[in-house]
């Protein structure tokens, strides 16, 4: 690497949270189905809508760990 000095953000296990939405969303056969439907809404649609919220939620632990690191610096 030609990057000079340290000062790079440390990689932590909590960063693996960021990959979770990619697995849940890119593995299409997992949700490409109609049942179980909720109130007539096929699984395909409510699963992905649900992941909008979950996608934001998985960022939270990473966000909080980084904030803690930042304050302790």
């Amino acid at each position: 690497m030609t990057e000079r000095g340290g000062n790079r953000r440390r990689f932590r296990l909590v960063h693996l949270f960021l990959i979770v939405p990619y697995v849940a969303i890119l593995w299409v056969p997992l949700f490409n189905r109609i049942e179980p439907s909720i109130a007539g809404v096929p699984f395909f649609y409510w699963y992905q809508m649900l992941w909008i919220a979950l996608g934001a939620l998985v960022l939270l632990p990473v966000f909080m760990v980084e904030e803690r690191d930042r304050k302790s610096e």
Partner: protein
């Protein structure tokens, strides 16, 4: 037109449009520190906090055309059209993890565009020019599509002729010229609030009228409700869906207007916070996508009142027709104003982004290296006018389908800047010549695949070891680009001068 002018709706539409225009011009005044420099006009002085950035990026990324085209695709093609939802889910972890680095390095070095960064990082004027030109060319048809969005709602109101479009765009051009990104930020707040109101009312009122979501989904043909499943030797629509979502997510923040939105924020933490709160717009987008099915269920396609609109705009007329059919006139005015104003915000930011690129990476780099900061600001303002005029002439003079096709190609082209910009944020070991070759190969392969498809879609079937793998053309072209960039870099670096030119420091990135 089978229908006449809707007076109530049109009056409300015009009133809201006028109110926003006033706001835009107010945004042009009342700045504390306007020194006429580019970062002031073109990045709002890098001053926006978390909330304004939320409105600005939301207004910027979720464009009027998105709100028309996404439900149109669901209306026409079914489940595939829903890819916009996974696409926006995948964007935010990426935004969170990667783009604060771009903000930091841009802030430390006074960069205004992604091409500025590439210039500094790789020390290659040619590579920076390539990035800048790719950005401008990919964005121009996107601006034109915002105009198509306005045209569709004007037709929905029953307003004949194209003068109103010219008028709306002149207003846009004037306040962008005067107020720059600050004016867009103010209008974005109103636009986003109008969009939320419209969406909430639409997804409550329309399903009630149509007899519930179960009935709406029941009216969708079974073959369109989910993706075509895998068969032996063919991954079906599913690999197309996944690569479309992933490719679009990777491309989004490479677009100049997205970079402009990011760099205008006041700190890297504003970007991180926004990665957590921007998904609120994705909820709205998902609900808007479902409007496509509501339009199917409402049967607007076969109603004679909308025949002319569908003839002129195809499936893009589905949502306007649905609103006219379902809403009282006054609310049609509100909803259409939301879409119309929704077109102005991204169009303004896109033209500002193009202007920034031209000024920094073409004008200052090649035409007038010693120009003053004030002159830079002036050139950018004028460029934004030229860019918008170009888009307007394009929409007035060419069939609509040209803008749509070019925007499709634009997505394939812009993603080819990923190795230089995104990987460049993490490593300097890529060689600029390798990046240029990778870029050229990606552009050529992507464009060729798109031509093979006759510009009718972007899913090109690859044949690998007897498997048929339908794949988003931008994505497969990017893989080729990445492979070449990395492989050739390791070869070229053997012969490279040491140390590699790099104007940025490791501590600039955190």
């Amino acid at each position: 037109m089978a229908r006449g002018l809707d007076l109530t709706a049109t009056s409300i539409f015009i009133a809201l449009f006028a109110a926003v225009t006033v706001l835009g011009f107010l945004g042009a005044r009342g700045r504390k520190s306007d020194n006429g420099e580019l970062a002031e006009w073109g990045l709002g002085g890098r001053s926006f906090g978390t909330l304004i950035t939320w409105f600005l990026l939301g207004g910027d990324l979720y464009t009027a055309y998105t709100f028309v085209a996404v439900p149109a695709l669901v209306f026409g093609a079914g489940a595939v059209g829903f890819f916009a939802v996974p696409y926006t889910i995948l964007v935010y972890p990426l935004l969170f993890a990667v783009f604060p680095r771009l903000w930091s390095v841009a802030h430390a070095n006074g960069y205004v565009t992604a091409a500025d960064f590439v210039r500094g990082r790789f020390g290659s004027g040619l590579l920076a020019l390539t990035i800048a030109v790719t950005g401008i060319i990919a964005t121009m048809p996107y601006i034109a599509l915002q105009l198509v969005g306005i045209e569709v709602v004007l037709a929905g109101l029953g307003i004949p002729g194209r003068l109103p479009l010219v008028l709306a765009f002149s207003v846009l051009a004037a306040y962008t010229y005067m107020g720059g990104l600050r004016a867009s930020a103010m209008i974005a707040v109103v636009k986003d609030l109008l969009i939320y109101v419209t969406v909430i009312v639409a997804v409550i009122a329309i399903p009630i009228e149509l007899g519930g979501f179960a009935k709406i989904f029941a009216s969708v043909p079974a073959s369109k409700l989910i993706l075509a499943p895998m068969t032996t030797g063919n991954l079906g629509q599913q690999s197309g869906y996944a690569t479309l979502a992933l490719g679009s997510a990777l491309a989004l923040f490479l677009y100049p207007h997205a970079v402009t939105g990011l760099l205008s924020s006041s700190s890297r933490h504003v970007i991180r916070r926004n990665a957590v709160i921007l998904p609120a717009y994705s909820v709205a987008l998902g609900l808007i996508a479902l409007l496509g099915y509501m339009a199917l269920a409402a049967g607007v396609k076969s109603m004679p009142a909308y025949a002319a609109g569908f003839k002129a705009f195809g499936p893009n007329f589905a949502v306007p027709a649905l609103f006219v059919q379902m809403f009282p006139s006054w609310f049609v005015g509100v909803a259409f104003a939301a879409i119309g104003i929704g077109a102005l915000v991204p169009a303004a930011i896109m033209s500002i982004a193009c202007a920034n690129l031209f000024t920094r990476n073409i004008y200052k780099e090649y035409l007038s290296p010693n120009c003053s900061p004030a002159r830079e600001g002036q050139v950018a303002k004028l460029t934004s006018l030229v860019v918008k005029l170009g888009a307007l002439l394009f929409v007035l003079g060419m069939p609509q389908i040209y803008a749509i096709n070019l925007q499709l190609l634009g997505g394939i082209w812009i993603i080819q800047t990923l190795p230089s910009v995104l990987l460049g944020l993490y490593t300097r070991r890529l060689h600029p010549v390798a990046l240029l070759i990778g870029w050229a190969a990606g552009i050529a392969a992507g464009t060729w695949m798109e031509m093979q498809l006759g510009l009718k879609g972007s899913i090109y079937a690859l044949h690998v070891f007897g498997e048929t793998i339908p794949c988003y053309a931008a994505f497969s072209a990017l893989i080729l680009n990445l492979g070449l960039s990395v492989a050739l870099s390791s070869v070229f670096n053997l012969f490279a001068r040491n140390p590699l030119a790099d104007a940025t420091l490791a501590e600039d990135y955190v």
